[in-house]
Symmetry: C4
Subunit: 229 residues, 4 copies
């Protein structure tokens, strides 16, 4: 089944670009739909003045920006993975479909954030955090599948391994913040900010892990050599 | 009129890719709009708590996932057909337009599913089932038209014949489930799950039919030879 | 200013494809947004049964299909024009922007059609007819501008002249139906159906005009020759 | 970090086109979503006649057209910048992300314009003006970053400098109108119209600045020469 399933390199490049076009469409729509929830506010009450209305709903604006950044970071990461992909198979469509499901879903926890953050902070945060956890899981699945099935460019295999590692770490990280959010909300928010910064520049982040790991290895080798001598 | 209408191979490849870009846009938007119905819930009642509200509307979440999977499977199938197409004509635009009409319509039965499944299960299921029936009809039309008008790559004609066959089967299958849904809802749901799985990997499914058919032929030939001897 | 403004042939092909990508996006979204108005119905009243609710709003379904066909026909026509374009300039962006404005606006008269057709038939029809008139105007502007500024492929100039002519006819035609709609609604609807069919296959329609015109010319020449003899 | 980050020219062209595809998607959706606010009106009150309803909400139509023109002009400008870009880096994604954030946000001040212009003219205008100010800031950031990091085609560097200058002027200009809007609304509107016209043809506008500047330089040189003589 494998030979039927997997495309060759030239066809593969065309194929991957098509999956990316569809995915880009989904990302672009999800990121733009967020504004609808903000516009919704204007139709709710008309008695108070505009400035008062907007001040009452300042959370909706913050939620909009958080939702926007979340999907933008997802797109940057998704896009980077597809730079290295040069083959596809039938299952990749489904792994990518999982990523798209989470992306499409993101406006929902964002809307919850906008409307319920002050009333039910813990539940809201847990809901939004669960979305990040699912996103990490989806991103890891995409990376791990591409890596294990040799769908990526041969010369980028080593770097891509650290991509995979990066998303594996993020699964554990986002899982932990879920529980930290139950104890301390400010701490959870700080940890999410760190997550944002780390994944805002995914290539550099992966390279840093690579350098750290190889650095540790070199140090270990040095230690071994010392012992040997 | 035919020579005017049909494009040559190189131009055709460009043309088909343009139709696909437009179609991909429609698919991407239809799949992302599904979340709007889920967000709608948050604006309905604010007295009960968030968790209670979401639990009451758990059907909307299931409907969202079903709608998402439906459109994703449609995209995968649509995309696969366009891998083999290398010519277009004026009528193909309209056959493809029929597919897009059904895709664009899909969020409507999904919204019905979300809101009426518990109250009017049979009607809801019939409505959603009718959508699948129309989709099979549209997919078959696209395949049959491309096959009959020689719009596909010459070397893929045999495989594509089984694509056509696959969608012809699905017309009958989805038509039957429409009536089964009136008798037994669980059975209908199981049959839809089988449909989902079969069309989740359309290439493999077509190849299986091909192997089965050719296997039967070989057995028939063997039988004939036996009789002959 | 002209030399700065106009791009050369190879760059032009890239440029036109970019304008088309953006336009395709707008068309794809406008066509998919139509379903939102249909979904809206489900949230209005919940007391009556689903079937009764849908039967009451059967006009919304018809409006959805009409809106869908309108935008699809627009896309087919827009797409065909861009097949022949191989240069762009700054003003083309704005002429194309006019087309997109009308396309983006189309869901609005469609929504009016869905909600007001039974109550205020004449006004609704006039509104929808005005949209068609504007669309003809926009399509003619695009064609005429491309033709007059030599932005189209050299070898297609003759055919393209008939494209231009076709849209010029449609301006007059849609303008006339606007008034016919005030006298007889069924006649207006029939005339719109003819419009739909004619523009559903724009290339064939243009060629028919070309053949008719050249046929008349040949006949005229024959007549002249007869007289001469 | 720089060598890792920046792509080479051929890869860069592919990369920039991908960012543009995603951006085009966002622009296309933002521009099409504007109509939803207009459709919303139809669902508000049904007692009065259609024409009366539309006349009451004529501002919503004007707001729709203003919003449409705003995003279209943004797209034309964004698109023009990407014509000259042939390299990307990780930070460009974020600078471009800032542009997209403002574009995505635009339907919100447009909706405010539609609903509050008659009630709270000054606040509405300030809000919409602030959006233009942010847009100028975003456009300038994109230009300045691309220029300073040498991400643009070598032979267009001089022209691009005037692009950068153009957006720097627009920051000051939009900032000033913000305050003028507090004093005189008609004057502010006239100044916005001039802004629209200037940025509707961004290439020509930049070239005019270039000619003016070089003209002044030449005149200065002439003056110097005169003095010298």
């Amino acid at each position: 089944m494998d030979t039927i399933n997997k495309t060759n390199a030239t066809e593969g490049a065309k194929e991957t670009s098509r999956i990316e076009t569809f995915s880009d469409g989904v990302f672009a729509i999800a990121i733009t739909l967020l504004i609808l929830d903000l516009i919704q506010i204007l139709h709710q009450q008309n008695e108070v003045g505009l400035i008062k209305l907007l001040l009452t709903h300042y959370q909706a604006l913050i939620a909009f920006i958080i939702g926007f950044l979340t999907i933008l970071i997802c797109w940057i990461n998704h896009h980077l993975v597809f730079v290295y992909l040069n083959k596809t198979d039938s299952y990749l469509m489904w792994v990518n479909g999982f990523v798209l499901l989470v992306v499409t879903f993101t406006p929902f926890p964002t809307a919850i954030l906008a409307e319920y953050f002050d009333k039910e902070t813990h539940v809201t945060l847990a809901f939004f955090g669960f979305n990040y956890f699912m996103m990490s899981l989806a991103a890891y699945s995409l990376c791990a599948y591409s890596y294990n099935k040799y769908l990526i460019k041969e010369d980028s295999r080593e770097l891509f391994y650290y991509f995979k590692l990066k998303y594996r770490y993020s699964i554990i990280y986002t899982f932990l913040i879920l529980f930290i959010g139950l104890i301390s909300i400010p701490l959870a928010i700080i940890l999410y900010c760190i997550l944002f910064i780390a994944f805002a520049f995914p290539r550099q982040f992966a390279m840093r892990i690579m350098l750290m790991k190889s650095g540790r290895k070199t140090r270990l080798e040095k230690l071994k050599r010392k012992k040997h001598n």
